[in-house]
């Protein structure tokens, strides 16, 4: 241990929000841990945010509430924040900083890892492959989820994103052993946390889940650390223990709020809507921790959930997320209010990794062109609907009427399915053919003649 590690200070110079300044100190490293012990023995953890000659600015993870300028001891540990991880964490519940919340003792660490993670060398990455069959038609056929992908839900308040996430966990057919879930709840309500615990219980996967919960009343810095602790555990399981880890991060909007709050507190110049200019890089440091590594068996798949403020997809939170993640699943309030579950709006949704992982030899040879045709035809439906709503349905051509009918069936039969309904990919593809066959075959220009001959449902 270095000399300075032992050095203790008893006076803080300034406290503002979740930050404090301490002066007359030396040998303190940037982005390292600080331990603050209060008079009553309570210990808080902080991180140095800036260091200079004879001073350091520290942000306190548990918040500064109740902290006094005098009479607390500060210790600089001389290393970045680390998390002791182990396989025993499976089945356990922790707070946002990795402390047990379930009353059980702290698991014995197998390894201490830097919670900030280190960038994977781009040439060490292995391209994600193998689809994860979720049993949901709009995802499996049109926005296929791939193991090692980061695919967020763009949702809105009050929309059933939690249910869909739970349904995916329940239905995801993941072949082979070593499947587990890491759940990070940032600023979530207690009810939400309960909902997930119950659903994991019902699915019988609870023993394979690690939960990190920073509830709605937790300080903003804790919220910022929560996904980092969760992903550190995930990296350990995936890359040291060969497991396939599915990471659920909810709600990333709360995370971004916390980041904005801290940035404002520090008086930084904002970029857009008050969010700091480094929001993109910061989010990337979380999302890019998904993936696969060459010659390693495990993988990290991320499903971040975020609620779009005012359902606005151009808001910086969904916008910057979409620029980093490998697609997005967009939920739609209009579908939801019409009782369609899951209310997935397929047109703005996208899976970027789908292209390389579907088709002959991977899923089914007709999969890519059927998906593409469903997108194109459904998009056309939307246009026709817009026209029909102005000029009246009687005024549109008979072909256009067929499109409207197709659109209706697509939404009520294909998009719509029940919370407990698990459709195999084959079932979903067949359903897709049933539905697309409501259009005349000449309209299906994205599908080859041969496939039409083979699969188009001709009217008797």
């Amino acid at each position: 241990m270095n000399m300075y590690n032992l050095r203790q200070y008893t006076v803080l110079d300034e406290i503002a929000g979740q930050l404090f300044v301490i002066r007359n100190i030396h040998n303190v490293g940037y982005n390292e841990i600080v331990e603050i012990t209060e008079e009553n023995g309570k210990i808080r953890t902080g991180i140095t945010l800036e260091v200079g000659e004879g001073y350091a600015i520290v942000q306190v993870l548990g918040g500064t509430t109740g902290l006094a300028l005098k009479n607390c001891r500060v210790r600089f540990k001389g290393e970045p924040l680390k998390f002791g991880v182990s396989q025993q964490m499976l089945g356990r519940i922790f707070d946002g900083l990795g402390n047990p919340l379930d009353g059980l003792p702290e698991p014995i660490a197998e390894e201490k890892m830097n919670v900030n993670g280190i960038a994977i060398n781009p040439s060490a990455r292995d391209y994600p492959e193998n689809i994860i069959e979720t049993g949901i038609s709009t995802i499996d056929v049109m926005n296929t989820l791939i193991r090692g992908q980061k695919l967020p839900f763009f949702s809105g308040s009050g929309l059933p994103h939690d249910m869909i996430a739970a349904q995916i966990v329940r239905q995801a057919r993941v072949e082979g052993e070593g499947f587990c879930i890491v759940f990070a709840g940032m600023g979530v309500k207690y009810d939400t946390a309960r909902f997930f615990i119950r659903s994991f219980e019902e699915t019988g996967v609870l023993d394979n889940v690690i939960m990190f919960l920073s509830l709605a009343d937790s300080p903003s810095l804790t919220r910022l650390m929560t996904p980092r602790f969760a992903l550190t555990a995930a990296e350990f399981l995936a890359f040291e223990k060969d497991m396939h880890v599915l990471v659920l991060l909810t709600d990333m909007s709360n995370y971004c709020e916390a980041l904005r709050e801290l940035s404002t507190m520090r008086g930084e110049i904002p970029a857009r809507k008050g969010y700091p200019g480094y929001l993109y890089s910061d989010l990337a440091s979380i999302y890019e921790r998904a993936g696969r590594i060459k010659n390693k068996k495990g993988s990290i798949t991320q499903i971040p959930i975020l609620t779009m403020p005012n359902d606005d997809i151009t808001h910086p939170i969904p916008d910057l997320t979409g620029y980093i993640t490998e697609g997005q699943i967009v939920l739609d309030r209009e579908l939801h209010s019409r009782g369609i579950y899951p209310p997935i709006s397929v047109l703005p949704s996208l899976s970027r990794l789908m292209k390389d992982n579907i088709g002959s030899g991977k899923t089914r040879e007709d999969h890519p062109s059927l998906a593409s045709q469903l997108f194109a035809s459904y998009a056309r439906t939307r246009d026709i609907k817009a026209i029909a709503s102005i000029i009246g349905e009687e005024e549109i051509s008979s072909l256009d009427r067929l499109y409207l009918k197709f659109g209706e069936i697509f939404e009520t039969k294909f998009v719509n399915q029940s919370y407990n309904e698990r459709r195999t990919l084959n079932q979903s593809l067949e359903l897709g053919w049933d539905i697309i066959s409501n259009l005349p075959e000449e309209e299906l220009i994205r599908i080859s003649q041969q496939q039409i001959k083979q699969r188009y449902r001709h009217k008797k």
């Binding site: 900030n116 960038a119 781009p122 391209y127 990337a284 151009t314 990794l353 026209i387 051509s397």
Partner: protein, 585 residues
């Protein structure tokens, strides 16, 4: 080893302030702290230097030493670039992986080029000849595709070739030639260093005159870019910027491709790398990797190195241009570079302008695009750099600062459209909002390579697309039925053009690349269809008959002709008018 020049007085993210006790200049490279993290001096204020550090600054402390050789951050330019992947400051990622493992650790000092590898050198100049900066003294077959010309570094003054090595195998540290000028002997190796932010000199800029053929129909036929030109590809997330960049890196007829992944996804680099080691260049039959250099500074890698990656890319591009090559540089995405500038500027507490971007954003963009172009090199050869830059506008809004400033420095604009992407019309390049100012520069090329109607067809189709736009407005108000057939056919042709021509899947084995000849035939087919259809309609033929005709179906299937069967496509196109005539009976 670099000497100590000062100590750290403040650490704030990637920006570190040091108090210097030695003279130091802007852009000098420094090594910071005990790990010798690489950094660059970006601002001087009295005896305080602001350094942007290209690696994670965790654990740096006040009073830590800072070292420097007092030379600017420089690249190594020589054989070994092609097929390699580097980070933003040209550290070789494959070697780092071999040495350090799967995650990028800090303080790695590995030279960019392999110093041990032997290259087969062939001299091209003789002792006693006059020789000057930029001249080619010999060459090395770097890959089966690329002859790497060994250049006299631009900073060596003109003189006489005093010695040159015979043909044989050498490593890049060996002296290959000596030049005597004004009584001094300068030695030339197979590589030299060049400051990453300094333009490489050339003789003069000249006009562009040849299209970069990309194999993408909407680009080559509607919005072409010239070799030596600059294009911006703006679009919201998921609209297809990266796929456009990848397609161009794969299929465009450049000699050398420099692909810069700037602040984007790690998996996308994995994707290109994997593809390029498999895919074959249609013109040469060689692996695409054999002409490509990759720079990868992904979004989770240090932000300062992201800022540098763009300069690293363009400097490498200039180096190959100096050899007389046509180079294409893809930068995906320049917005991430601009954002890195913003972040660093913020850390230096500079006063921001719009949306937090520093006031010097436009001049940085201008300097970068100015490095593209077609030039006569110092050695008399002609080379070019085409820049294809994606722009990621926040919220998909093209009026934001990076997009709007970029527009001032480029002459070609491929606007990606969210609605097209939503309906999976790819490439989602809008035919309404895109433009190319290179059309006049390159039309002679098309004339020489086709039957001379390209510009006419292009004008005709753009005109139809404009008309269609207006007709659609009417349809939205009163329905399609009121339109006369002479107008309905415009809608029909445009629909056909979009589906059968503009839409081109990057993932279709055949359609991913479309040669200029095939493009022209397809173009001609659409125009022929339209002209003939107008004629037939006047004679009473109905739109539905046209739509259900064999010719129509034939047009929809044109994409599926492989390059080997183009004579069949030609036959089809030649027979169209006749076939359509038959509808009259």
């Amino acid at each position: 080893m670099a000497e100590k020049i000062g100590t750290i007085i403040r650490v704030n993210g990637p920006v570190v302030q040091i108090r210097c006790n030695e003279d130091i200049r802007i852009l000098d490279m420094v090594e910071v702290g005990q790990f010798h993290l690489v950094g660059e001096v970006v601002r001087l204020k009295g005896d305080v230097a602001y350094v942007q550090v290209y690696e994670d600054t965790t654990s740096l402390k006040a009073q830590d030493p800072v070292y420097s050789d007092k030379i600017p951050l420089s690249l190594e330019l020589g054989p070994g670039l092609i097929g390699n992947i580097f980070d933003g400051i040209q550290r070789p990622l494959e070697k780092i992986k071999a040495q350090e493992g799967d995650f990028i650790s800090r303080g790695i000092h590995i030279s960019a080029l392999d110093k041990e590898k032997k290259w087969h050198f062939k001299p091209l100049r003789k002792i006693g000849e006059k020789i000057g900066p930029g001249d080619i003294i010999g060459e090395v077959q770097e890959t089966t595709l690329v002859k790497h010309k060994i250049l006299v570094p631009p900073y060596i003054p003109a003189g006489i070739l005093f010695s040159v090595k015979e043909e044989g195998d050498y490593d890049i540290e060996q002296t290959m030639a000596e030049i005597e000028s004004n009584g001094n002997i300068h030695s030339v190796r197979m590589y030299h260093r060049w400051p990453v932010r300094k333009n490489r000199p050339y003789n003069q800029k000249i006009d562009v005159n040849t299209p970069l053929i990309t194999g993408q129909r909407v680009i080559d036929t509607l919005f072409p870019v010239a070799k030596g030109g600059c294009v911006a590809v703006p679009g919201g997330f998921g609209t297809g910027k990266t796929v456009v960049q990848h397609q161009l890196a794969k299929w465009s007829d450049a000699d050398i491709v420099v692909f810069v992944g700037c602040g984007e996804r790690g998996n996308e680099m994995t994707d290109v790398l994997a593809n390029f080691t498999k895919l074959v260049d249609p013109r040469t039959g060689k692996l695409l990797l054999e002409r490509t250099v990759f720079i990868a500074n992904t979004s989770n890698m240090p932000v300062a190195a992201r800022e540098a990656s763009i300069y690293t890319g363009i400097t490498i591009a200039e180096y190959f241009r100096d050899m007389g090559y046509q180079v294409a540089l893809m930068a995906d995405s320049t917005s991430r570079w601009a954002e890195a500038l913003r972040e660093l500027s913020g850390r230096m507490e500079e006063i921001p302008l719009e949306e937090g971007f520093p006031g010097y954003l436009p001049s940085r963009l201008a300097e970068f695009y100015e490095r593209a172009g077609r030039v006569i090199n110092l050695n008399g050869s002609t080379g070019s750099i085409t820049v294809i830059a994606s722009v990621s506008p926040q919220g998909g809004d093209f009026s934001e600062p990076v997009t709007s400033h970029t527009k001032r420095f480029i002459r070609c604009f491929w606007a990606l459209d969210r609605d097209l992407a939503y309906s999976r019309h790819y490439p989602a390049i809008s035919w309404i909002d895109s433009y190319s100012e290179y059309v006049d520069d390159i039309k002679l090329w098309w004339d020489a390579h086709t039957d001379g109607n390209w510009i006419g067809y292009r004008n005709e189709i753009l005109d139809l697309l404009q008309k269609e736009q207006r007709l659609q407005q009417i349809v939205k108000l009163i329905g399609p039925d009121v339109l006369p057939n002479t107008q309905k056919i415009i809608l029909e042709t445009c629909l056909l053009f979009k589906n059968a021509f503009l839409q081109q899947s990057a993932f279709d084995e055949i359609d991913t690349f479309c040669s200029a000849r095939k493009q022209f035939l397809m173009f001609k087919a659409i125009i022929t269809f339209h002209r003939k259809a107008e004629e037939l309609i006047k004679q009473g033929i109905d739109i539905d008959e046209l739509r259900e005709s064999d010719v129509y179906r034939g047009i929809v299937r044109m994409k599926s002709y492989s390059e080997e069967t183009l004579s069949e496509l030609e036959k089809f196109v030649d027979s169209m008018e006749q076939q359509m005539e038959k509808l009259l009976k």
